[in-house]
Structure formats: C-alpha cells, structure tokens
Amino acid sequence: MSPVSRTNSQLVYDALKASGVRLISALPETWLVHLVRLADDDPDMTLVRLAKEEEGVGISAGAHLAGVRSAMLMQNHGLLASINGIVSGAQLYRIPLLMIISHRGSFGERDPWQTEGGAVTEDLLRALRIPCAVLDSPAHIAPRIGKAQTLAYASNKPVALLLDRDLMWEDPT
C-alpha cells in the first residue's frame, strides 16, 4: 500500500473539479499517483500526460484561450523545468494558470535527490511573483483551491499551491 493519501488526493481532485477545471496536464510522480488516476478515470476530465512539464504551460494557455479551465499537476522539479514557459508564455501573455505542485524535499523528506529542489521552491515562486499557498491540512484544500483559481482569473496570471508532505503522505515519519 502506498502511503500517499487517497483521501486527501480525492479532496484535491474534487476541489479542482469544483473550481471549474476540465483539463489537467500532468507528469506523474509518487505523490500525484492518485490524482492522475482520478483524472484518467473521470469521463468529464481531459487528462494530458506530458513528456516534460513545460509543455503543460502551452497546453493550459491554449485551453484557456479556447475557453476551457485547466490545471497543471507536477512536482516542484517540474516547476523548475517550466520556468521559461511560465515567464515568457503565461506571464508575458497574461494567462491564468493554476499549478498544483508537490513540494518534495521539505521537512521529512527521505530521498536525498529531492532535497535541493525543496530548498528553493518557495523562494523561486516569490522571485517570480507567483502567489502561492501551502496545502497542509484537509480543511484548507477546497477553499484555497477555489480562491487560488479566483485570483488566477481576476489577475490573468499564474498561481501556485504547494502540496505539503503532511497532506500527501500518511506514513508516520
């Protein structure tokens, strides 16, 4: 049994649906397995599996201009791999872009290879002036995703939500 939280993944997925998301682009990682499966199993959701996360910025931009709300599901290293598309695509062209990012490499991380990315993620989002909040408790999921989407559309800009270890990982550490 994977220690990734099914319950909280379902809450995140339900909140994305409630915020109007109908297209999800994703590059799977451990914490996102249930979310990707939920999107894949949902006939009302278009799931686009990516080769690299930056593609998702272009796909979301196209979907937005064509009238479909979308979200990107990725690891924080996927955010690192998407920076040019975010800056010279989504920010340059004022695209609302909801990014759901698993925050690997924070407190409790056991994989040494995740630790550098974890240390720079929040500073990076701040440097890019991307509004960001952490999802670390089930009670916050629905309101924060809803409000993030509202801000993305009001500002026509990217917003980010960081999926915290305490939310996604049920193994006691």
Partner: protein
C-alpha cells in the same frame, strides 16, 4: 521555396482556421500578408506553439487548428511531438518551416542542417501523417491534403534561410492575445469560462 511564398500561397485558406505561430520571422511574415483575429503569434516561450495548438485542439475539437512552427522551436520541445502523437487531435495540422538555422539570431545552423530529420522524428514519435516537402507546389498540395485528412499531420516544409528585415510589428502582444481569445469565444457555443 521561401516561407513567405509558402504562407502567401495558403493564406486564402486560413480564413476560418485557428492559427498559432512561433515568434520571429514566421509571425512577422504572416502579419505582413495580413493579420486576422484568428491568428495568434507566440512571441516567446520557444517550443510551446505546438503545445498551445494541442491545448486549443483538445479544448475545441470542432475547430480546425494549424500551428506554424520552426526547426529551432521544435528542437526545443521534441518531447512535445510524443504528446501530440499520443493525443493525435484530428483537427490539428502541425507545419514546421525548416530553414536549418536559427535565422533571427544570425543564422546559426540547427541540427537539421547536419541531418536530423524532423518528419522522421515525428513519425517515429507516432504522428500518423508526416511528410517533408521542398517546393511550393508540393507544399500547397500537402497542406490542402492535411486539411482534408481529418488526422493529425506533421508537415515539414524545407524553406530558404531568409526572413523579414524586422521582427517587431505594430500588433501588441496582449492586443493579439485578447483579440484571439475573443475570436475563439465568439466562435464557440459552449464557452465555459
């Protein structure tokens, strides 16, 4: 074949087509022929024009979508070809103008100058229809066939490494973006956002 002549030859057939182009020469040349509200020019984010085309094609399967890409841009997002092939939207035609160089920054040769074959890469990625054309007549025929095919097509057009004198045009980036969005909204009955 020049890219400008190729664009001029098919321009009349782009009336009702949702067009996404890359930055630089392609955007400037298409605008020099005549901007239309159904044309969007991605003036940066190199590599992502095809991803935007995919997003539009998936969001609006009833609309014909054409992406005008370039060898330098495609080489920055080769993985995107596998994503296009995976979802293979029937309403998307992916044209790659291959001049074997990064023309707008001084003409440095790309890997297609030393033998990398983008149509073969697209075919191997799983794109169902691919072709490479070298003359204007071949290009026009292949483009028209792709429009009628109702299947994802990647059309590589080998073109001369010549471009416009200037790349900045009178059309503001955001003016283009909001006009294009409005065009899509007005053409769509089931607009959801």
């Amino acid at each position: 074949m020049t890219r400008l002549d190729a664009l001029k030859a098919i321009y009349p057939s782009l009336d009702d087509v949702v067009v996404v182009t890359i930055m630089g020469a392609v955007a400037a040349e298409l605008q020099s022929i005549g901007h239309r509200p159904n044309f969007f020019y991605l003036q940066h984010a190199m590599g992502l024009a095809s991803s935007m085309g995919l997003g539009i094609a998936l969001a609006r399967p009833e609309l014909p979508v054409v992406v005008f890409d370039g060898d330098g841009s495609v080489l920055m997002n080769l993985g995107g070809l596998t994503t296009l092939a995976r979802y293979r939207p029937k309403n998307l035609v992916h044209v790659i103008f291959d001049n074997e160089s990064l023309l707008s920054v001084g003409g440095f040769p790309t890997a297609t100058a030393t033998g990398s074959d983008l149509a073969a890469i697209a075919a191997a990625a799983g794109v169902p229809r691919t072709a490479t054309v070298r003359t204007l007549e071949e290009f026009v025929a292949a483009f028209d066939a792709a429009r009628r095919a109702n299947e994802l097509t990647c059309l590589v057009a080998k073109v001369d490494a010549v471009g416009p004198a200037a790349f900045v045009t009178d059309l503001g980036l955001l003016e283009n973006r909001f006009q294009f969005q409005r065009y899509l909204r007005e053409r769509s009955k089931a607009f959801t956002t």
